[in-house]
Symmetry: C2
Subunit: 376 residues, 2 copies
Amino acid sequence: MSTSTNSAYVPGLEGIIGAQTAISMVDGANGRLVYQGYVIADLAQQMSFEEVAYLLWKGQLPTKAQLDGLALELAASRTLTQAATIALDALPADTDPMDVLRSVVSIQGVEHRLSQPTVPLAIHAAASFPTILAMFYRRQLGLEPVTPRRDLGHAANYLYMMNGKEAGPEVVRALNTYLVLLADHGMNASTFTARVIASTESDLTSCLVGAIGALKGPAHGGAPSAVIEQLERIGTAENAEPWMRDARKQKIKFMGFGHRVYRVYDPRAKILKEMCRQMNPRFYELATRVEEVALKILHEEHPERPQSVNVEFYSAGVLQAIGLPKEFFTPTFAVSRVAGWSAHVLEQAAHNRIIRPQSEYIGPEPRKPVPLAERG
Amino acid sequence: MSTSTNSAYVPGLEGIIGAQTAISMVDGANGRLVYQGYVIADLAQQMSFEEVAYLLWKGQLPTKAQLDGLALELAASRTLTQAATIALDALPADTDPMDVLRSVVSIQGVEHRLSQPTVPLAIHAAASFPTILAMFYRRQLGLEPVTPRRDLGHAANYLYMMNGKEAGPEVVRALNTYLVLLADHGMNASTFTARVIASTESDLTSCLVGAIGALKGPAHGGAPSAVIEQLERIGTAENAEPWMRDARKQKIKFMGFGHRVYRVYDPRAKILKEMCRQMNPRFYELATRVEEVALKILHEEHPERPQSVNVEFYSAGVLQAIGLPKEFFTPTFAVSRVAGWSAHVLEQAAHNRIIRPQSEYIGPEPRKPVPLAERG
C-alpha cells in the first residue's frame, strides 16, 4: 500500500546515516570525539571557543589574524535589534530561558529573511545567544542589562553580562573549556533538526530556532538541571545507595546516565569530571559516589548493556562551579552548540538534497466517510 | 573509523522510513492521499477544516457534538497573549510573514513551558495562526486589527480578520477546501522536523516553530508565490512556449513542478486545478498552457522521469482567487499544515524513541593541532 522503500522501519533511525559530515566524528568504540580532524582532548584546554568555532565553520584552525578578525566580528554583533529587545522585555519573567532563546533568536534573525546561510550570519547568531540569556537573567533579578564588552572573549563576556562584573580567569577558562567540549557531537537530534530545516533551503535562523526547540527536550539537552536536582535529593554520599535502590523500586530514572553512542567513557565527561574535582569538590564527592552506585545498579539490572555517565552529569557540576543558575544550564549548552549547528547548516547548504524520508502507513484501509448528519 | 551502521548513506533519506504513521498515506503510485483511512477526494469538498483537524488529531471523524465542542475551543483560543501582541507590533513592517509566524507562535507558546503535547494544546496553537497573520497583515496596511468572530468557522474567520469584512460563501468554501487538502502529507520535511523535535520530549510549540522554519524553505513550502511571479513574467498563454524555452537555456527552473513521491497526477493538484477553472479563469488559461509546455519541455529533457505539477502550482491560483496577497500563500499553507504537524507530534509523543541517526565522518584523519603562535 505504501510507496517503495529501501529497508524496514528502524525506530529513531538508529544506525541509519542521516548525513555525511567533516565537522565531527563521535568514535564511540574508542571514546573519541573529533572536530574536523582534531581530537577533543587536544582542543579542550588549549583553544578558545572562538578558535574552535572557526574550525567548525571553516574546516581549519585560524591564524592569529583570522582569529582577531573573528573576535572583532563577534564583539560587534553582541547587541540585539530593537524588535528583539522589545520582545525580550515583554516575555513573562518566569518564562523558561530556552523559550526566551527560541523566541528572541527568531526575532533577532528576521532582518535576514531568506538569506543563504554564511559564516558572517553564523557569527552574528552565535554572538547574540549570551546577550539574550544575560539580559533575560538580569531582568528576572530586576537588574539593568549590562552592555557587552568588546575587549572580552566570548566566555568572559557572557559571564560579565550575566553578573555585571568580570569573572576570574579560572572560571572563564572553565566556561571556555565547557563551550569547546559541547560545540558539536555528530548527528544528535538538534543538529539533525537544523540540517533537515536547512535542506528545504530555509534560512539559518529557522534552522537554529528549530535546533533550540529540539535541545530543550529532556531526552536531549534538557536534563542537566535535573542532574543537580537529583543530587540535591540524594544529599550525601552515604545516602546514595539507599536512596538510589529505593528510587529504582519506584521506577525513578537516574539522571545523566546512558548514551546511544559511547561504549566507553565519554571523553567530554572525563574532562568535565576532572574539572569538577578541582573546582567543585562538594559536588565531586557526591557525584562520583552516585556515579559508582548508579553504574552498579544499572549493571545489575542489565548486565548486557554498556553503561556510563553522559556529558550532562559532570556538566552540571562544572556549570554550578562557574556560578550559573541551573535554569541556564541547557541554554548555556546552546551557547556552545550554536557553533556546531551553524557549521552543519553551512555544510548541508553546500551539498544539499532535501531530507524527506518515507513514512509507513499503519492507519485503517480507505473507506467512505459517514456524513456528519449520520454520525450521531 | 565511524561507528557501525545498518546501511550505506542515502542522500535526503530517500526511501528510508522515518516514521510509522496512521495520520496520512501518500500513495504515489495510485495518486491517492489518505487521511486516517479516508481518501482526500472524499473529504475535500464535504468536510470542514475543523472536522479534518479532529480526524487527524483523534483518528476518527467527530460527531456533531464533538465538532461543536472543537469549534467552541478554537473560537475561544483566537486571541494572542500580551507578550505575543507586543512582539508582533515590534516587528519591522517588512518582515517576512513566515518569520512573523515563527516568532509569534514561539512567544504565544511560552506559557506552556515543557508541557506534554495534547489535543487542547494543538487546538490552542492552530487557533492562533490566522490571528497572527491577519494582525500582521493589517499592521502592514496601517489598519487596526480585527477582533476574531466566535460565530465564524476557521476559514471564514481567517478571511474576516484579514479583510475586516465577511467573505462570500464560495470564497470561504474554497479556502476551506484548500485547508483540508494541505493539512497533512506523509513524511514531508516540515512534518519530519516536528517529529524529530518531538522525539526529544520537547513541547508542541518547539515542534511547530521548527516546522514553520522548514516550511519556509523554497524547496518545501516557500515556492507558491514564486509560481505567481513566474506566471506574471510569462504574461500570456501565447508567450508560454517561447518564454519557457528561453528560460531553460538560461537554466531557469520551472516553478511548481516535480515531486519526489507522486508518479501520477497529484490528487490535490487535480482538485485545486478544477477550482482554478471555476474561480480564476484568467489564471487557469495561462497556467494550464504553462503546465502543458513545461511538461513537454521537461519530458524532452528527461524522458525517463515522470513529471507533473505539484500542489503549489494550482494552490497559487486558488489563493489568488480567494484574495490573499502572495506573501501570505506560504503562511496560509502553515494555517492548514499545523493540523498535520500537531497530529504527528501527538503520535510521536505517544510512541516515542528519540530520532538520532548516525553521521558518516568524511573529514581529515585525526592529527595534532598546531599551536596558535606557530600558525603564522
